[in-house]
């Protein structure tokens, strides 16, 4: 009974002191919400439907294009990019394009050279005549460069097919193909006769088309060179209604970061209390060190839980973040994250020893944990080795667990792994704090 009275008094004191500290309240509620809102808008905003801005957002990536050829084919490539909602295309000359990329105002510039249209078809069969498209890019924006290069191929193929491949040109290529077939016995591995038949039928078909017509993709009376595949883009989440929300991840990451920072500050306060002689009075009472440590874990955990809940409540109301997965799993994740954060803060204080020492060590350690743990940017953008390293950080499990229960829309069973890992980290940190926290002041 006495222990319970002491426990309640210690927890109540911490909550009272926390509520009386305006700076701590701002650090735990206002700052993470502000930064998470900003980060969320950078990483996709509120879902795939109607999202705004950013790399993955619907605002479109700004690129520059230079058309030095001016042919139907090159104009077709430019139009293909202009008609793609993922891009906002600025058409300009080579010098201006170069400047824009050099100054970091555009991530990528595409330069379609002279004779691009004329050489595009022969280039298909003759490497010496193949036109070269220059891609200028900002070295710090490799993700954008990869995206543009990836989409360049189908756009060029379609533009060439639609603007340069007439029935006559097609029949010419078929004739060359038949000639090559005759010159190279066994080239088709015993299937030359069937290939010859296929080419012959294609030639017959082209002969039926009006002379001078264009071969475009689609349409019933036109010839087309279709791509050998089509894509069906679908955001993969467990529930049909679930969709990616950049705010869900950023609020998880920033919430955890600022909880850890605030708890570090509070644990430094404990060390200041110890230096100021407060522990002499505490220890003069019939109070166990274990009771005191448990009370600190409970109060820190409670503050952490309230802060994370507040952050997510804001994200739900303002940014439409939804708990698409299990609510029970989400609540359990929040509790596990809070317990881990509380014991981690106490461990850092136990190891740091003095307030000044703990501040230095603590800030460095926490920044490393939140960065590697994927609290700033999702861990999947890390190199493979860093992704492996991040698996041994509690922050990675915390972020993964919350992501799974929010925008990934996974069931409670997906929370078991992260919660198990977080409980294990809590036990480890609790043990270190128990062994290392200096209770005596003398």
């Amino acid at each position: 009974m006495k222990t319970l009275t002491q426990l309640v008094a210690l927890v109540r004191l911490d909550l009272r002191l926390f509520l009386a500290d305006r700076r701590a309240l701002i650090m735990l509620f206002v700052v993470p919400i502000g930064i998470a809102s900003f980060m969320g808008s950078l990483f996709g905003g509120s879902g795939t439907k109607g999202g705004k801005g950013g790399i993955g957002g619907g605002g479109g990536m700004d690129i520059v294009m230079v058309d030095e050829d001016g042919s139907a084919v090159s104009r077709g490539v430019v139009a293909a990019f202009q008609n793609d909602a993922q891009f906002k295309v600025l058409l300009t000359n080579a010098a201006a394009a170069r400047d824009l990329v050099l100054n970091g105002k555009r991530p990528v510039a595409l330069v379609l050279p002279k004779r691009f249209g004329a050489d595009a078809i022969p280039g298909w069969f003759d490497a010496k005549r193949r036109p070269e498209i220059t891609v200028w890019h900002d070295p710090s924006r490799s993700m954008e460069r990869s995206l543009v290069e990836g989409l360049l191929v189908p756009k060029v193929v379609q533009a060439v097919a639609g603007n340069a491949l007439t029935p006559e040109v097609g029949r010419d290529f078929i004739r060359k193909g038949l000639t090559n077939l005759d010159r190279g016995p066994g080239r088709m591995l015993g299937q030359s006769e069937r290939f010859r038949e296929w080419l012959q039928r294609s030639d017959d078909y082209l002969a039926t088309l009006p002379s001078g017509g264009r071969l475009t993709t689609g349409g019933t009376n036109t010839f087309s060179i279709p791509l050998p595949f089509s894509t069906k883009s679908q955001a993969l989440t467990r529930t049909a209604t679930a969709e990616y929300n950049g705010y869900a991840h950023s609020f998880a990451g920033m919430g955890i970061q600022f909880v850890l920072m605030s708890l570090l500050d509070m644990s430094i306060g404990l060390l200041r209390d110890r230096e100021a002689g407060m522990f002499r009075r505490l220890r003069a009472a019939p109070l166990r060190r274990g009771t005191w440590l448990l009370a600190k874990t409970l109060s820190f955990g409670l503050i952490s839980l309230v802060s994370l809940t507040g952050c997510f409540a804001f994200a739900i109301v303002v940014f439409g973040v939804r708990i698409e997965g299990s609510w029970a799993g989400f609540a359990a994740c929040l509790m596990a994250v809070s317990a881990m954060s509380a014991t981690l803060a106490l461990t850092i204080a136990a190891i740091g020893g003095t307030p000044a020492g703990t501040r230095g060590v603590g800030i460095a350690a926490l920044l490393m944990l939140v960065m590697v743990g994927g609290a700033w940017v999702p861990a999947f953008v890390f190199p493979k080795w860093l992704q492996s390293v991040s698996r041994v950080t509690p922050t990675r499990w915390a972020v993964d667990g919350l992501d799974a229960m929010t925008w990934r829309g996974l069931g409670w069973e997906a929370a078991v792994g992260p919660i198990g890992a977080l409980v294990a980290f809590t036990a480890l940190f609790g043990l270190i704090a128990w062994l290392r926290f200096r209770w005596e002041t003398e």
Partner: protein, 315 residues
Amino acid sequence: MKGPILSAKGLVRRYGDRVAVAGFDLTVHRGEAVGLLGPNGAGKTTTLSMLAGLVQPDEGEVLIDGLAFVGEDDPRKQRVGLVPQDLALYGEISAAENLAFFGSLQGLSGSLLKHRCSEALDMVGLTSRSGDRVKTFSGGMKRRLNLAAALVHDPDLLLLDEPTVGVDPQSRNAIFDNIEALRRAGKTLIYTTHYMEEVERLCDRVVIMDHGKVIADDTLAGLSQRAVTAGRMAMELADVRDGAWLQTLQSVSGVVTAALVDNTLSLEVLEVDRGAAAVLACLRDHGVRVTAFSTHQPRLEDVFLQLTGRSLRDG
């Protein structure tokens, strides 16, 4: 209950190679007020920490009512109240909240806790400020609240570690009044300080520590007797014609030294009352007229100086 409330036997505490307390013995009976006197670094605070059960002695034992502390949560700790030297208070919450918190740690709750908080605040004269945040208090008020926080669970034995450090004279007097009230209420006090006058006012027994050891343990009267040789007198003289009488004076029984500088005669005597009469008779016989006369009775400061060879306020 019979027997001493506190008994410390052969306490030793080392910090690495440094011996902070080197064999401390003390027995304190109920209602006694013991002054623990010593310069900075004498080992007073470490001794008090061992008496309060904060620090385990490397050797020796502390008995409260004949029994040693067992574990951090020994209920006997509730019989002891510690007033730490530092202000151990939370500035962001009110005085009443501070007392309620410290009372709860002592196991108090409900109406008893409220009652004790109210009593403690009343005793130190802070009832009217009970709802105010402690950070708005003056230094003296904080000191008084620091005292109240040690009283909230109504301990029998109060350990006060320099409770008047850094306070103004008015607040110091208020704290003295509080402590005198506690004495009248029958509390047992152990009061550490390096202010001689505080011990002289508040305590009836003095333990002097130096270099971690007890070098004297006696009543105030008993200690004053030890310094009786230090009785001094000073006289302003008129009509000083020659110094022949000075030689006679130095041979008077009970006079230790006699020196004349200008018209001022300074003397050290074994006993002030007898010495004064003999000296005045000798001067009258030689026709030397005395215009002013003063004596200096030996005080605790002199005893300390005599015992340790250094002043109390020496670092």
